[in-house]
């Protein structure tokens, strides 16, 4: 008797679940899975728009051959974007984790600092930042009042040059320091997510650790970080998408200009090969992370 009743409740719950997610499933099929399929298909085709609709000719791998072998710029842009991704990704992750740790503690002025550091969440728009920071860079050169951070206080490029690093290295240094405002401004949402994650850690664990005589350093490595492991995955996926779709991303800019001149097939091929490369890197990072940390923690 009891069993039967339970099954009834389960069936009811399952039905409620289907009712709730029904519109989403339709949306996923119509506005997400289908377009993804189409977009992958377009990357193997020559797509052209005309008055009577669109024409799609299957080409095979021609688009990919074009962008990788014949287009001179794509590989350079791709390399630039990937290198930028490789250094911004860890910086954003670590910086937002440190900020979240600091902002999660109790101290005077915490509310003020939180309000300050959440400001990028509101205004985090690459377009705005570009407009503000890049505007003076191409100015009249003999007056040379640059407003990027590398120039505003003292000339960082000169300092880096005087250290005597190879040209390539010092170039990267200057570009990182130059882009530091951009990097910090893209930490907003990540910091918020980390703080939300830290709030979900039961305080009991910290009390136990304190009684056992753990230092703050051990508390961080053995409680905070393992408890944040899932949030870390969410944040890294979010960061990856953010970095991929940034307005300053050269691959995106190129793909967009191809779109505007109606080379839809080539543009799809560009986007997909770039997406797969970045996805592969992320999968690699997360795989190592899972092997080293998650398996041990859980």
């Amino acid at each position: 008797m009891k069993k039967k009743k339970n099954r009834g409740v389960y069936a009811l719950k399952a039905r409620y679940g289907y009712i709730c997610t029904f519109p989403w499933v339709i949306g996923l099929v119509l506005f997400f899975i289908l377009p993804i399929g189409q977009s992958v298909y377009y990357s193997f085709c020559d797509v052209s728009l005309s008055v009577g609709g669109m024409k799609i000719n299957f080409l095979g791998l021609d688009n990919f051959r074009y962008i990788f072998l014949e287009n001179a710029e794509y590989m350079d842009y791709m390399a630039e974007a990937v290198i930028k991704f490789l250094y911004s990704f860890p910086i954003i992750l670590i910086l937002s984790l440190i900020l979240a740790l600091m902002l999660n503690q109790n101290f005077r002025g915490r509310i003020f600092f939180r309000a300050l550091y959440f400001l990028p969440v509101i205004a985090a728009s690459g377009a705005v930042l570009n407009t503000v920071l890049s505007s003076a860079a191409g100015g009249i050169s003999n007056i040379n009042q640059d407003e990027s951070i590398a120039m505003s206080m003292f000339d960082i490029s000169e300092i880096v040059d005087s250290v005597g690093l190879p040209q390539q290295m010092s170039g990267y240094f200057v570009s990182i320091i130059d882009g530091i405002t951009g990097l910090i401004w893209s930490c907003g949402v990540q910091t918020v997510l980390f703080i939300a994650g830290m709030q979900a850690i039961p305080p009991l664990l910290y009390e136990v650790a304190k009684v056992e005589g753990a230092t703050k350093w051990e508390e961080f490595w053995f409680i905070t970080l393992p408890m944040l492991s899932r949030v870390l995955i969410l944040v890294s996926i979010f960061t990856m998408v953010e970095l991929m779709t940034a307005t300053s991303n050269p691959v995106m800019v190129q793909a967009y200009s191809f779109m505007q001149s109606q080379f839809y097939g080539e543009s799809s091929a560009m986007l997909w090969s770039y997406f797969l490369l970045i996805g592969l890197i992320i999968a690699l990072i997360l795989g190592i992370y899972k092997k080293l940390c998650l398996d041990r923690w859980e």
Binding site: G17, V121, I122, S125, A196, Q199
Partner: protein
């Protein structure tokens, strides 16, 4: 080893603990202030730069505060951006779909978080994919589909059989933004659903079970129990969604052909300024900054009003993954 450490701790406890604490709090202050400077720096540049007359650029002694202020750049920026009309179209295209999304995603996430069903594993996987794949990847087919709306190929079949083209073109109308939001796959809907789910999972089950026993249905428990007890997550999600829609430039740029939203115009500011006769030079830089400031001002006001609530809500949403 443990004994040794405890011993050490007892020995140096009073002295070192205190010094370490003070030292750490000074270090934290320095870090927070210096990184905070970098956060606030673009805003300072934006505000001071937008009121700088050309003479202030030529004067090397002036970095931030100009000797005299001018507001003519704001006039030019308002004119170039077509400010109030663009705000109106941002409200129509962006904010309305944000509101739709906030409501729809809550319902979907409620179902995903509270009930067990067979498809749930598949849907969880789809959620990750939805967060992972940016709109840019699917924008081309979306444009094509919007230009000839065809539900499951039925209208296309009619077209082929009879030659009558019933497929409507909704490209350039507000429906291009409302439709995905209505089905919970709009702008970054994956993130919103995820945050909602995390919160709903933490709600106690007892109230809902009591309600079911008393004969309440799904909608009743959702609207009368789940929604009233989740004002916290609604604050977080609303701020995220509204801000993301406000800042979104890519979709409006691709879908619309006129009445562009404010974000598109900021993205395209160089051309707009050239159109009103401002070419490369200092007046253009100042006008750009004025335009950027005008762009963030509405969100800034909203943020200053909701700031306290937002900060508190972050503390209580709790994402465990």
């Amino acid at each position: 080893m443990l004994f040794k450490r405890v011993n050490n701790n007892l020995k140096y406890n009073k002295y070192w603990r205190k010094t370490g604490k003070i030292g750490y709090s000074i270090f934290r202050m320095i870090m927070l202030i210096s990184i905070g400077y970098l956060v606030i720096y673009p805003v300072i540049i934006m505000i001071t730069g937008s009121i700088k007359p050309v003479s202030a650029y030529l004067d090397k002694s002036i970095i931030y505060i100009p000797k005299e202020a001018t507001f003519e750049y704001y006039k030019t920026a308002v004119e170039a951006l077509d400010y109030f009309d663009s705000i109106l179209s941002t409200l129509i295209y962006g904010i309305v779909s944000a509101i739709i999304e906030i409501a729809v995603c809550a319902f979907i996430a409620y179902g995903m978080a509270r009930f067990d069903f067979k498809l749930k594993k598949v849907l969880n996987f789809m959620l990750v994919i939805l967060i992972l794949v940016p709109t840019q990847m699917i924008i081309i087919p979306m444009m094509m589909n919007y230009s000839q709306v065809d539900i499951f190929g039925i209208l296309g079949l009619i077209n082929k059989l009879t030659g009558i083209d019933l497929r409507p073109n909704i490209l350039g109308t507000a429906w291009t933004f409302y439709l995905p939001s209505l089905f919970g796959v709009g702008l970054r809907a994956g993130m919103l659903i995820y945050i909602y789910m995390q919160f709903f999972k933490g709600l106690p089950y007892e109230l809902e079970e009591a309600a079911w026993i008393d004969g309440a249905g799904l909608f009743k428990t959702f609207f009368c129990i789940a929604v009233p007890s989740s004002s916290v997550v609604f604050t977080t999600v609303s701020i995220f969604s509204v801000v993301w829609h406000w800042n979104e430039y890519f979709q409006p740029m691709m879908y619309l052909s006129s009445d562009f939203t404010l974000a598109v115009k900021i993205y395209d500011i160089d051309n707009l300024l050239t159109a009103v006769g401002l070419y490369d030079g200092y007046p253009q830089y100042s006008t750009k900054k004025a335009a950027a400031f005008l762009f963030i001002v509405p969100m800034l006001i909203v943020y200053l009003i909701l700031q306290k609530k937002f900060v508190q809500s972050i503390d209580r949403v709790g994402i465990t993954g």
